[in-house]
Structure formats: C-alpha cells, structure tokens
C-alpha cells in the first residue's frame, strides 16, 4: 500500500490554517515585510530561513498579535485576526530573547500560561512535570532564570511555549543555544509532539540542517520578501535563484550565456572552454545571461580524463577536511574556483589526491541547475 505523502499545499481544496494576503509591514519608512502571500497548513512544520534582519521575527510577531500589518490581511482558520488581541489567539510564541519572567522560578514560568487558563492544580502540576521532563529541566524547577545557563534558559522558554499545547506554535530560534546532541534530540521531540498533538509549527532557524530535518516546507526570505517556499529537498535540488542556492548549502556558481535546444542548454562560460550542458524546461533566449549552480557533492573528482561532456581540468589549491567528507578547492586555468566533495572512504594518509595535484572534475547533464537570476 503506498503511503500517502503529507502535502496539503498541493491540494487545491485544502484550506490553509494561516493565510498571509499581500501583507506589508513598515516601521516608519522602513519596510520590514514586503507584500507577502503565504499559506501555511494545519500540521505543517514550517521553517523560516534567511539572513539576520530579513523579517523572520516580524512575520512571527504579526502572527502572535504584537504587530499589525501595515497593509494586507492575515487569516487564521479563514478569519481575519487583525482585531484579536494576543491573549485571545490560539497561538503561543517562543521569543528569540526567551522573555522569561525573572521573578518566577522555572516551574512557575512553565506553569504561567496554564494558570491563566484557570486549570485544576493537579492538571497543571502534571502538565508542567511533563514539559520539564521533555526539556530535561526536572532538576532546575526551583531555580530562577538568572541561575541557569543559556541553553537551560532556552529550554525553559521552549517548555513554557509548549505547555499550553496551542493550535499554532511559533518558535523563534528555539534550539540555537543547545549542543548538537541535545539539539537533535529536541528536534525529534518536537516532531514527535507535532505527530501526537497535530500542532502546527512555524520555526525560525539559522541552522539549515535543522530546517532540512524537521520542516515540511521551508521559506527562504530576503529583505522582507519570500524568495522561495518549497519542501526541503526541492529547495536544495531546485533552488529558484542564485540567492537560494547560495543560502542553502554549498554551491558552485558559474556565470555564462545560454543557447537552448529542447530541454538541453549549452552554457558558454569562458573563452576557449567547451560549453557546459544542463537541462532546463525554462525557455531561454539566445545568449541570455544565466547561472549554473552545481553542488560540490555532485562533482566527481578523477585523475584521468572522464568520458562525460561536463568536465574541467584544474589544480588542487586547498583541501578542507570535515571528517566524513573532504572538500577540494580546485583552480581552473580560467581563474574559476570550483569546490568538489568526496566521501572519505579511506583513511587520511591513503588519500588519492593532495595539494597541487592536477585533477579532472566532471558532472552529469542533470547535476547542474540552470538559473536565470
């Protein structure tokens, strides 16, 4: 039986939980968010990625109700939420600055939201205990925030926002201060919570690996605009612009001029070098300026000249050793620097290539992505 893939954004009948309709946010004459249209669906794990200051927090604050759009509408479950104050929204936010109450203990911080709902004492106690166990804070229940480490504080903020089990949870860099192991464990806990409760998550992260691991879809932002919104694999394999390709993962960008026949595109990129081949469904005009984006791991590095059409010859300038893989920086006679990655199946001392070796780099016709901007 084929498993149904979770992809509500492909179903035209599906109603989004959140809909941004042409939303613009200005602070004075500075535009923080520039006419954004975006649908986020129930049970999604939606990741916002982008450089510092691109408007991620602003987007979240509008969802939480701390900022109102200058123009445009935000719909939650089909209804405009402009008039709903933050405390009436089924939304909880984990603040980038944590915003822990300094006069309350860890336990009281986590219980704060539950107490406001007027729940039973026992119920609150169980719920708080669950959250503390989840975030491994059991031992710190009685401490005040200023007696905790940065990572512990972050976990308190996370526990506090999770406690009320809201319909929509906004996490502004929830795991940045945690060590790698704890971060990975917490990522899986978050995904687990989401499976169990059906909560919709919107999460800001600077860690693309994290976005790739947890997200159902990723939005890449730049200067208040959405550049691309797609599943993690599509973002990685089919970026829609040099900006996205460059932002997510490592990439080689080669500029050139296109000439197209069918879905094969020949890219002239340097004088005297044979053109590179890529496939693209976009229709480019003759000699249109374009970019080839090639991921380093898709480039094969050999000593002998390979039989493919896409091949270049160069000299190894630098080797970056990352343990499991190595990145070779190869300088071409044209002056281009190309990065190629290969898995370290052998021990370091028995490596095939070393500095100043002349090598061939090659890749298949489908490996490179042709980008117009």
């Amino acid at each position: 039986m084929p498993q149904t893939v979770f992809a509500p954004w492909e179903d035209p009948d599906e109603k989004p939980l959140i809909r941004f309709q042409n939303v613009t946010k200005k602070f004075g004459d500075f535009t923080a968010i520039q006419s954004i249209d975006l649908d986020i669906y129930t049970r999604e794990f939606f990741a916002l990625l982008g450089p510092s200051g691109c408007g991620k927090t602003t987007l979240m604050r509008m969802l939480a109700g701390f900022e109102t759009p200058t123009t445009g509408k935000i719909l939650l479950g089909g209804e405009d939420i402009a008039a709903t104050p933050p405390n009436k929204r089924p939304v909880n936010m984990m603040f980038q600055s944590y915003a822990l109450f300094p006069h309350l203990s860890v336990w009281e911080n986590v219980a704060f939201g539950l107490k406001r709902e007027g729940r039973e004492k026992d119920e609150i106690a169980t719920r708080v205990a669950d959250m503390m166990r989840l975030t491994r804070l059991d031992k710190f229940a009685r401490r005040k925030p200023h007696q905790l480490s940065g990572g512990q504080r972050q976990r308190v903020a996370l526990a506090r926002s999770l406690a009320k089990a809201p319909k929509l949870l906004l996490l502004d860099e929830p795991l940045g201060a945690l060590d790698k192991k704890l971060r990975e464990e917490t990522q899986f806990e978050l995904m687990d919570i989401q499976e169990k409760t059906g909560t919709t998550f919107v999460i800001v992260t600077h860690d693309q690996e994290e976005a790739m691991t947890v997200a159902s879809r990723v939005a890449v932002m730049d200067e208040g605009q959405l550049v691309q919104v797609a599943t993690p694999d599509r973002i990685y394999e089919y970026p829609n612009s040099v900006y996205v390709a460059d932002f997510i993962g490592d990439v080689n960008i080669i500029e050139g001029a296109a000439s197209q026949s069918g879905d094969k595109v020949l890219v002239t990129w340097a004088e005297g070098a044979s053109p590179l081949v890529a496939t693209s469904t976009a229709m480019l005009t003759k000699d249109q300026h374009c970019y080839l984006a090639i991921r380093p791991e898709k480039i094969t590095i050999t000593a002998e000249e390979p039989e493919t059409t896409n091949k270049v010859h160069g000299e190894i300038i630098d080797i970056g050793y990352l343990g499991n893989i190595s990145t070779y920086h190869v300088k071409l006679p044209t002056g281009h620097m190309v990065k190629a990655q290969s898995t370290n199946t052998r021990r370091l001392s028995r490596r095939n290539f070393t500095w100043e070796d002349k090598v061939w780099l090659s890749w298949s016709d489908t490996a490179a992505v042709l980008l117009e901007r």
């Binding site: 109700g65 701390f66 933050p86 405390n87 909880n92 936010m93 915003a99 006069h103 704060f112 406001r116």
Partner: protein, 296 residues
C-alpha cells in the same frame, strides 16, 4: 594595603559624620538639665585625668528615658508620627507609581524632560515651597478662592492647621523620592516580558499585576523607605502646616531643644527616634543588598 584604605575611607566617614555626633547626643541624653552654657550637667573635663572621667560617668543616668516613658505626650507623639508617616508614604506611593509608570511609558525622547520636571522643585528652597503651600491652603488662600469662585463649595474649607495639610505637605515634598526609584525599575523593565505574559493568556491588566508590579517591587520598596524614614522625623511641615493640633515627634524634639532648652530630654527623644528608625533602615539596606545581588 590599597584594600585597607578603600575599606577605611567609608568607615572613617561614618565615624566622623555619624557615630561621633550620635555618641555626643547619647551622652547628653544621659545627663541632667542645668542652667548653664551648654545647658546640661555633667561636663566632661579630660584634663582631670581618670578620676574626672570616673566621676563624670557616675553622674550619668537613664532618668530622661524614664521620663519619656512616664509622660504619655511622647508616646502619643511617636505613635502619631508613625501613623502620619505611614499614611503619607501610602499616599505618595498611590500618586507616585502612576506618575513613574507614565514617565516610563512615554516616548524615550521625552523621558529626560519629564525627569527634569520631577527634580525641578528641588531648585527652590524647601522652606519657600512649604510657605507657599500656606498661601494655597489657608482660609482665604488660592484653593479656597478658586473653589468658591467655581461654586463647588459655598463655605471655605479648613485645611490649614489640620493633618490633611500635613499630608499634602509631606506628599508634595517627598513625591520625587518615590517617583525616581520606581521610574528607574520600570524603565529597565523588558517590554517583551509583558508581551510574553499576554501571549500566555494575560489581559493587559493582569499582565500589569503579574509582571510589572512584582518586577518594580525593588523600586517601590526603596521609594517607600526614602519617604517613610525622613517623614517620621519631619519637623518643618507639621509645624508650618499642621498647627498646634498635629503631634509629631520632630516638632516635640524642636520644642524641647529650643523652647524648653531641655537638651538632655531632647537628646533622649532623638535617641529613641533613631532606635525606632533603625529597623526600617536595616530593612532598607537589606532590600538594596538583595537588588544588587539579583542585578549581578
């Protein structure tokens, strides 16, 4: 060595400006009143050597304190001072907190100006300001004239020479001491805490009571002590605005010193007053200490 000097300086300061004068006052409080200059006995004559000092000490006694305890005027004056100081502290808090809150929520560019306005009254003499209150509050003063003119009242109000005038005077004089520490804590308050409270289901009002008020507690406590401690010994305001009916220990002290020329009893009054004040002063120091530790 450097450390020693650093520690020594404040202690010497304290010794010279507080401990020595206080010990002199204690000494006088243990003496007897005399028609002499200075008006008490015995006098310490160090040239007489050990024998003179022994004689001097033998003459000292606690008579004046026994007298304070026996005459209920003094107890009434202490209690009435405590009551007036407590009530005026409360009134100052009720007025000062909203003012400080308003200042802290004003636009940042306005705050220095507002701060200036709060401190501005200190630029004129305290005595002149209290005198001008006499002009405002008296039977045919500004306030009554104005109220009669608007028709709110038909008979002039008697405010001068009542406790109400004393409250007005104390609240007016000490308001900046309440506003400034509260303002300092409110201004530091991180706005995202209020957002977090609202996000977790608080209304604006409950966020105020659950976050703003507890976090401004150090400022409130500091302000209350800064008003309460001087208010309890206040002398100028009750004697100028309170008339003869208002009983406050500061006034009693003044009368003992200057009207009765009974320095020993006056000193005993001062010593007891200090003993009473030591409790709030120590509590105040504790509060400051705790804040400093929490701030680190």
């Amino acid at each position: 060595m450097r450390r020693l000097i650093l520690i020594l300086v404040p202690y010497l300061w304290l010794l010279a400006l507080f401990l020595v004068p206080f010990l002199i006052v204690v000494k006088i409080s243990l003496s007897d009143v005399a028609l002499a200059r200075p008006p008490y006995f015995p006098q310490l004559d160090l040239s007489g050597g050990w024998a003179a000092i022994r004689d001097f000490v033998a003459e000292l006694d606690f008579e004046n304190f026994a007298f304070l305890a026996s005459d209920d005027l003094y107890w009434k004056a202490y209690l009435s001072s405590l009551r007036i100081a407590l009530i005026s502290t409360l009134l100052t808090l009720l007025i000062g907190f909203p003012v400080a809150y308003g200042m802290a929520s004003a636009r940042p560019e306005w705050r220095p100006t507002l701060m200036m306005l709060v401190i501005l009254p200190f630029w004129t003499s305290f005595l002149i300001r209290v005198y001008s209150w006499m002009g405002i509050l008296s039977q045919n003063g500004l306030l009554n004239t104005f109220l009669l003119w608007t028709g709110v009242i038909s008979e002039p109000l008697t405010i001068m020479n009542t406790e109400i005038a004393v409250y007005i005077g104390i609240v007016y004089t000490y308001l900046p001491f309440m506003i400034l520490p509260i303002y300092a804590t409110l201004e530091k308050l991180d706005g995202s805490l209020l957002e977090a409270a609202e996000d977790l289901g608080c209304s604006r009002t409950s966020a105020f009571w659950l976050v703003t008020v507890p976090l401004s507690k150090p400022g409130i406590i500091a302000g209350c002590f800064l008003v309460f401690i001087p208010a309890i010994g206040e002398f100028v305001i009750p004697s100028l605005l309170g008339g003869s009916d208002t009983l406050m220990i500061g006034k009693v002290l003044w009368e003992e010193f200057f009207n009765n020329r009974d320095w020993p009893v006056a000193s005993a009054v001062a010593v007891v007053l200090l003993a009473i004040l030591i409790i709030p002063i120590v509590l105040f120091q504790r509060n400051e200490q705790k804040n400093r530790e929490a701030g680190q």
